[in-house]
Symmetry: C2
Subunit: 111 residues, 2 copies
Amino acid sequence: MKVFNFKDVKLEGNLRWLIRGPNFDMRMVEIQPEETPWTQHVHPWEHEIFIVEGKGEARSGDGGEPFEEGDVIHIPSDEPHAFVNKGETVLRFICCIPADVDLEQIKPFNV
Amino acid sequence: MKVFNFKDVKLEGNLRWLIRGPNFDMRMVEIQPEETPWTQHVHPWEHEIFIVEGKGEARSGDGGEPFEEGDVIHIPSDEPHAFVNKGETVLRFICCIPADVDLEQIKPFNV
């Protein structure tokens, strides 16, 4: 068993890789106010997300949905997406993905 | 894409099953003060946990480690464990597990 604070894991770009497991990984994503670190993109694996702090908008194609602390977001595989911080403080969310994904399969999606 | 608040998912026992994905599931665990809903048990799959609210103790065998909001816990497969709320308010944590586990494989662990 390992117990540690998420801030003990180094922030690399917008990600802290909290746990790399045999089946799936848990990351903390951090986005500063008005920052859009990724334009819309698509990949053949899902995101399972829990909003820890702040508020934002999840974009997919022409659409977008607001979210805030305590919200859950499921993005199925092959669905285009991007996240924007719409608050005045840092946006933090847990984002889990399957283990050992091939980052070469991430493709830009042009709206 | 689905966006919803965790409280929109019914609490069943101590669990809200937030997302059942093709590779892994995301649940919200809720434990009331001084409650120990599960005695120590063991199963052949891991837990990846993020503490959302409250404080508690993670027990494993003869040992225990305190945790609080913002902490991350990784419990590898086949490691005995139990969780106790050590605060005066509800304890809530995100707990992810692989999809389609066989609940028959959960075994009690006697300390």
